[in-house]
Structures are given as structure tokens and as C-alpha cells.
């Protein structure tokens, strides 16, 4: 049987691609190692050649930062003296994202292939699979996949599972390193990157689970194949969690060169005419309704046109009459509660911002609230050990800008009907543990 290579993109473009999610239907559950190897053939061995191929492929990290993967691998390889650690980050603390648990539950061997390739390429002796304790389905699928690989006798770096409490910031790189070194999953202040000094002070490559899966396909099919989807600077496909006001919420694999309108059309569209969308998750940015159809998905155009990115691959669509100010405030309040409590500007700043925004969202602002909000947004940005405060205020600033007209209603004290509109996912309760 021929390898299940996806068809080349059509003359226009393929909004929904089938690379990571190719293979058996999702409702048949997790793909077994035997089927995985039959479908894709056994992976090649990793090595410096793969870093070259990944560099040519232009792959960028899918954890949210869109950092060029080959640059991270090169840095880790340069620092490694055969003692590096590879961490697969599958913690997925972002409440709006389901793509990593979906991938790990249905196609764990793609991710594990990628991690093994990474270990061989950068000179690592150990792989850590970092997971949220709460994600039971993922944990089960992964345990079984690891057992399958052991039984098959694959000659690979040993894989250790490290679990964390499910917290928003637990997936931040230094928090991952902290937890994998035996500490709490709280971010650390460090002048060195994890690639130089990470888990147990060893050079460490922390890479999102989806990025690892892309590596597993690039190692097999090459960089030209990868570049058949996406844009020159953001090549390939990406997993997108689509939620909120859409007919068929879920995880989709999309062409990074597509526009949001074509993706929405391909998956059934929205339930009601959207009032806007949050793009990129809780550290993302808000987009006004008129910009949705033409919204680019690639990192460059999204940054240029909207000052944001797709983050870890999220579009959450507001329902008609939904209120971006109200939803943004709910998210801000959640993020204020999810601070690791370590840095004064983040702890105090997000709490103060949340209080003022709760008043504004309820159409009961005190004099000077909006001016203080704008000042505090500028004041807390860049002042934490991690980017938690930056992400939180970026999301808020995006809402204030995208819904500036509607904000006037809140400031004038008139009630906003958006408070009681269902259809946008509310933030989950905050956690209280860090291990």
C-alpha cells in the first residue's frame, strides 16, 4: 500500500488539510503502533541532517510562540554534550485549546516519533512527556502507546511521564523545566534559555506536542512536501481548535495559508452572525466581526494586520449580541486568579485591572477607571518572570480596541445585553495546586 500522503493542495487552496490527522477515522480511537508503522512506514533515524531539513521546512513551534523550530534544536544541539533532555509539552493549560490532547489521544505515535527524532538529532539521553494530570483520556492513550513501543523493542531514548496540575501557566517553558526538575510548575526567573540550562541544569529542548508530530512527518516526507501548504514564512498545516459560535466546534487541521472565512465555510459556518472572535486563546487578541472572513492564519500577516498570532491554534467565535468586553473581562479575571503569585506587578496589576474591568463590564465604572486600565496595561507589560502579565493585558487591550465603539455603552452606564448571551465558552474554575 502506498504511503498515505495527502493530496497536493488544489489550484486555489485547501482550507482543511489532512496530515497529522490523516489515517483512520477519529471515532475508531487511538491509532496503534502497528497501524501507524504500516501507514507511514517506520521513521528514519534522527541526526544533524534532520535539523537541516527542519530549517528548510520553515517549521515553527505550535505551542503559541511560533518560534523557528530548527533554531531551538540547533541551540540545544550546540549546548548538549550528549546529556540533553527533550520535553514534549502536552500540558495544554489553555482552556480554549483541545488540539494537543486530541493529537495525543488519537495519534500518540506521531508525537513520540517526533520526540525520538529530536533526541537523536540534538544528542539527548532522555525524553520527558509532560502532561496535565486532569486529562484522563490522554493519559490512558499515552500510557498504552508507550507500552506498545516498549513491547516492539524500539531502540529509543527512554521516555518518562511527568504530570502537572492543570494550570494555565504550567506549560510555560521555565515552568515546564521547573516541574520536570521536581519542583512546582511555576515559572522561574532565568537569564539563560532552557536550551542552555534546563531540566536538572541540562540543555533542554521544550517543544509542543503538535510540533513534534509535524517533525515526524517532515522527517519522512521532507521540507518541500511540508511547504506545499501554508505561506513562505509560516509553512505547513496547523491544528486549530474552533469553538464558540460555530456549528461544528472541534479540532481541525488547517492550511496556514488559508483565510478564516474559508475554514468556517468548510466546517459548517457559524450559528449566528458573529460579533467578533478571540484569536490565539487567552493570550490572544480580539478581532472585530468585519475582519473575520478575511482573517489570515499565518504568523506574519496576523501580526501585521491584528498585532496577534494564532497562539496555540485557537479561534473562539462570539455569538451575535455577545460582548467582547464582558468575555475579555471574564478571561482577565480568570488569568488574574491563575497567576503563580510570584511577581508583584502581575499579582497586583492583574488584580487591579480585573476589578476595574469588572466595573466597566457591568456598566458601572468609577470615574477614571478606563484611564487607569490603559495606564496599568502599559505598566504591567513585560514585568513578570514569564509572559503571563503580557498575555493577559494583550488580550484585554485587543478587546478594548476591537470593541471600542461598544465600550462607549459600558462607559455611559447603559446595560449591555451581552452579559446573558450564551454560546461563548466561559473560563473554567481556577486551580489551587502547582504539582
Amino acid at each position: 500500500m502506498a504511503m498515505n500522503l495527502p493530496a497536493a493542495p488544489s489550484a486555489a487552496y485547501t482550507p482543511v488539510g489532512w496530515r497529522l490527522m490523516a489515517g483512520p477515522a477519529f471515532d475508531t480511537g487511538c491509532e496503534r503502533l502497528e497501524d501507524h508503522e504500516q501507514r507511514l512506514k517506520r521513521r528514519p533515524a534522527g541526526g544533524p541532517w534532520l535539523i537541516e531539513v527542519i530549517a528548510r521546512s520553515g517549521l515553527r513551534g505550535r505551542g503559541g510562540a511560533w518560534f523557528p523550530t530548527a533554531r531551538k534544536w540547533s541551540a540545544a544541539a550546540a549546548a548538549s554534550q550528549g546529556n540533553a533532555v527533550v520535553v514534549i509539552n502536552g500540558s495544554e493549560g489553555e482552556p480554549l485549546s483541545s488540539k494537543d490532547r486530541t493529537l495525543l489521544s488519537l495519534r500518540p505515535h506521531l508525537v513520540l516519533d517526533g520526540a525520538a527524532l529530536a533526541a537523536e538529532s540534538i544528542g539527548a539521553t532522555e525524553v520527558v512527556l509532560y502532561l496535565s494530570r486532569d486529562s484522563r483520556g490522554t493519559n490512558g492513550a499515552v500510557e498504552r502507546a508507550l507500552e506498545e513501543r516498549r513491547r516492539a523493542g524500539l531502540q529509543e531514548a527512554p521516555i518518562k511521564v511527568v504530570r502537572t496540575a492543570h494550570r494555565y501557566i504550567a506549560g510555560e517553558s521555565s515552568a515546564v523545566v521547573n516541574r520536570a526538575s521536581g519542583g512546582p510548575s511555576k515559572p522561574m526567573f532565568t537569564l539563560q534559555r532552557a536550551t542552555e540550562k534546563g531540566v536538572d541544569d541540562r540543555p533542554t529542548l521544550v517543544q509542543n506536542a503538535e510540533t513534534m508530530a509535524h517533525v515526524a512527518t517532515i522527517a519522512r516526507y521532507g521540507s518541500d512536501w511540508f511547504r506545499k501548504l501554508g505561506t513562505a514564512q509560516s509553512p505547513g498545516s496547523t491544528l486549530l481548535t474552533l469553538c464558540g459560535n460555530v456549528r461544528q466546534p472541534g479540532v481541525y487541521e488547517v492550511d496556514l495559508g488559508a483565510r478564516l472565512g474559508s475554514v468556517l465555510d468548510a466546517v459548517g459556518g457559524t450559528v449566528t452572525p458573529p460579533a467578533g472572535a478571540l484569536v490565539g486563546g487567552y493570550f490572544g487578541t480580539w478581532v472585530a466581526p468585519q475582519a473575520l472572513a478575511g482573517l489570515p492564519l499565518d504568523a506574519e500577516r496576523l501580526r501585521a494586520e491584528h498585532g496577534g498570532s494564532l497562539g496555540c491554534g485557537i479561534v473562539a467565535v462570539l455569538p451575535r449580541d455577545g460582548c467582547g468586553i464582558v468575555e475579555s473581562t471574564r478571561i482577565l479575571t480568570y488569568l488574574a486568579a491563575e497567576t503563580s503569585g510570584q511577581c508583584g506587578p502581575c499579582v497586583n496589576g492583574l488584580a487591579a485591572l480585573s476589578e476595574a474591568m469588572e466595573r466597566i463590564a457591568s456598566s458601572a465604572p468609577q470615574p477614571g477607571d478606563l484611564e487607569r486600565v490603559h495606564r496599568w496595561i502599559g505598566m504591567v507589560r513585560g514585568r513578570g518572570a514569564c509572559h503571563h502579565p503580557d498575555g493577559a493585558v494583550g488580550q484585554l487591550a485587543g478587546a478594548l480596541s476591537a470593541f471600542s465603539e461598544h465600550l462607549g455603552l459600558h462607559m455611559s452606564g447603559r446595560a449591555c445585553p451581552g452579559h446573558d448571551v450564551a454560546g461563548f465558552p466561559p473560563p473554567p474554575p481556577s486551580g489551587d495546586r502547582w504539582r
Binding site: F189, L191, Q342, G344, P345, C346, N348, G349, M379, R383
Partner: protein
């Protein structure tokens, strides 16, 4: 001739408890935010007097949260 290293004042925000002494000692680089935590200017310190103040602030911080980060200037990178 340029300096071989650039010196930047940094605060470890995890250690910092907002005593605020640093803003008194090196007002050229540090202001306090609305909650009393230091806002440290990002630019490198070229002036000897400011550098002296910065060093004193580093030594005075009760939480040992201040540091002077030395980063190679572009000149040394090229060399």
C-alpha cells in the same frame, strides 16, 4: 572606544518584594509602579556615576533581587 560589555540593571521579579529602596538610590534608571514595585529602564548604563548608583542599589536590596547583567556589546560580537 566603546565598552566591551553593556551593563543593564535587571530585577528578578520573583525575589522582589517591593521594598523600593532601589528607586531612591538609582532614580536615573528605576521608578516605582502603582503598587511600589520597581520599573527598571531597559537601556544599558554608560555613565560611571549611574553605574555607581546601580551597584549600590544592587548591594542594598534586602531581597537581593537586583542584578547588573553584563551582555557583550556588538563590538565584541564582531571581534
Amino acid at each position: 572606544m566603546s565598552e566591551l560589555v553593556q551593563r543593564k540593571l535587571r530585577v528578578n521579579p520573583i525575589l522582589c518584594d517591593g521594598y523600593g529602596y532601589c528607586a531612591e538610590i538609582v532614580p536615573e534608571r528605576i521608578a516605582l509602579d502603582d503598587w511600589g514595585f520597581p520599573i527598571v529602564a531597559a537601556e544599558s548604563i554608560e555613565d560611571e556615576e549611574v553605574l555607581g548608583h546601580a551597584r549600590r542599589a544592587v548591594g542594598t536590596c534586602p531581597r537581593l533581587a537586583l542584578l547588573i547583567e553584563e551582555v557583550p556589546s556588538r563590538l565584541t560580537e564582531r571581534a
